[in-house]
Amino acid sequence: MLSRTADNLYWLSRYVERAEFLARILEATQRLTTLPLTYVGTSNEWESAVATAGCASAFFSVYHEANEKNVTDFLAFSTTNQTSIRGCFELARSNARAVRTALTVEMWDAINGTWLELKRYGNGPNSREEFSRFLRWVQESSLRYDGSAYRTMLRNDAYWFSRIGVYVERADNTARILDVKYHLLLPEKERVGGPLDYFQWAAILRSVSALTAYHWVYRDSLKPWLVADLLILKDEMPRSLAACYEAIVRNLEALAGLYGRQGPAQRQARGIRTRLQNSRMDGIFQRGLHEFIGEFIAENNRLGSTISEQFLR
């Protein structure tokens, strides 16, 4: 397989996954802002949404204020922001077009259909309700792409590269979502573990479809360290960092098996997986959750560049 083809497949999956993540952040932020302002006091949810998406500096070079209109526009429909939801779908589609023959009909239909339908939304919806529908649609589009890849692709290097793209992006996204809580300010009069704190954690879990899973696993009220445990260390939680890395290692192994050689990407991924396996929550909290997440995101990015270097150039 040409490295260019592998590159397109890898980024195709990453962009679709990222579009879904942006929709999830926006949905969570919308939910957070539904609390009455008198109850919350000052709020910075929209600012935290931009910070979580990792494009705060790009945002503030265009806008002065992080409010609902600016942020939804920037993260969902902007053309100046290359990785807005629209940007992601456009990039995904152009990647897909370049490797049309490596995709199944179902995958192409999913991605091309999404791109065509995107035009229907124009430069943004007119109401909050319509915007919510848009966010659901983005997530369903990603599900359709993911599902068609899973069900129809031949299990060879094309499939593995596209899976690695999904999981590298997803690991990054889960880590970032968990970090939202760090960026969200808890007003001074609110106590940690109080109702607002609770509401914020619930919104985070909901944004990764894990609120029910949380109650299944822990049978307990929402506790920060348990939420972190679920999203970082739990193998059985499909979006957790541990589960993502399990999948990355497995797919990289499959590539190594096929090509008969392995390199730094395999070793690096195994190293991260090992560290996640051998960590415990109390240790992570002692060092600071925000610091841990920061390190993880940096490490995940490094793996991304190692993969590029080893396979995609």
């Binding site: 392995q262 997986r273 090992t274």
Partner: protein, 275 residues
């Protein structure tokens, strides 16, 4: 290096027991120099295999198999990817501060002879920890003849040193006793060793020691081979001594005496090259 390990432990009973309960420490964990690609334990009897973790962080499996039967076998099959870390073990599960591993046990009690050995090793290296441990490894490898006849699983370090004979387990116990006497935290490691000479069938697993060196962390020493640990070592369990890290411990209810046979196969699964 990709190492394939498969071994079978077979118990034969004169009179079938009513039931057998065992705890297994047969499953390796990942650390910086080692990644478990796949690992499977299979029992010859139908029973529940419970997975736990012991205090040291070793993965344990426990089971109770209801009898009667004349034979019980535990088969393990797995593949591990290793790479060389200059004997330093990083990123492993650490549940205790290193100083815990200064504790003496019945099997690692030093006698006068071992204390002499330790002191002379310290004397020759001017008290520097790392060279001292290397000297100890070399000396033990030279002085003690590898012989599986005179010693058994309950042989203490002092007894084996008196005989000047023993297996990897005995050499490791002597090493531990000497190092702990010099106030260096040291632990027992059970695992497997891929032999470069092409002998893949072995009678037992392997054993070596890890010592805690300031500013470096845990470092592996293999007195049976006279070397620091390499990528040929697959690290499975740790403990204060053999009993703490033992691959299989258990009891049987009813029945007569048992005989035990172990066959280990450690081979390189060389379907890949490193780039």
């Amino acid at each position: 290096m990709r190492i394939r390990v498969s071994h079978t432990t077979r118990y034969c009973y004169d009179t079938p027991p009513a039931s057998v309960t065992q705890i297994l420490r047969l499953t390796p964990r990942n650390h910086d120099g080692q990644y478990v690609v796949g690992w499977r334990i299979e029992l010859s009897e139908d029973c529940l295999l419970h997975k736990h973790e012991d205090a040291f962080g070793n993965i344990t499996h426990s089971f109770t198999a209801e009898g009667p039967y004349n034979e019980l076998s535990i088969a393990v099959d797995g593949e591990v990817e290793t790479h060389d870390t200059n004997s330093v073990v990083r990123g492993a599960v650490e549940r205790f501060p290193p100083n815990l591993f200064l504790r003496d046990t019945a099997l690692t009690q030093p006698d006068a002879a071992i204390i002499d050995l330790a002191n002379s090793a310290r004397g020759s290296e001017g008290g520097k920890t790392l060279p001292l441990l290397h000297t100890l490894t070399t000396v033990l490898n030279r002085e003690i003849i590898f012989d599986s006849d005179p010693t058994h699983t309950a042989t203490t370090a002092a007894e084996a040193f008196r005989l000047r004979r023993g297996v990897c387990q005995d050499l490791t116990h002597i090493f531990i006793a000497a190092a702990r006497h010099l106030n260096i935290p040291t632990r027992y490691v059970g695992g497997h060793f891929y032999r470069a000479d092409g002998v893949t069938a072995q009678d037992a697993g392997h054993a070596w020691a890890e010592s805690y060196v300031e500013h470096l962390g845990w470092v592996g020493f293999d007195p049976a081979n006279g070397i620091g640990t390499t990528q040929a070592h697959v690290r499975v369990s740790v403990g204060l001594d053999y009993l703490g890290a033992a691959p299989v411990r258990g009891v049987h209810y009813g029945g007569g005496s048992e005989t035990l046979k172990v066959a280990v196969q450690v081979d390189q699964a060389d379907r890949q090259t490193q780039s």
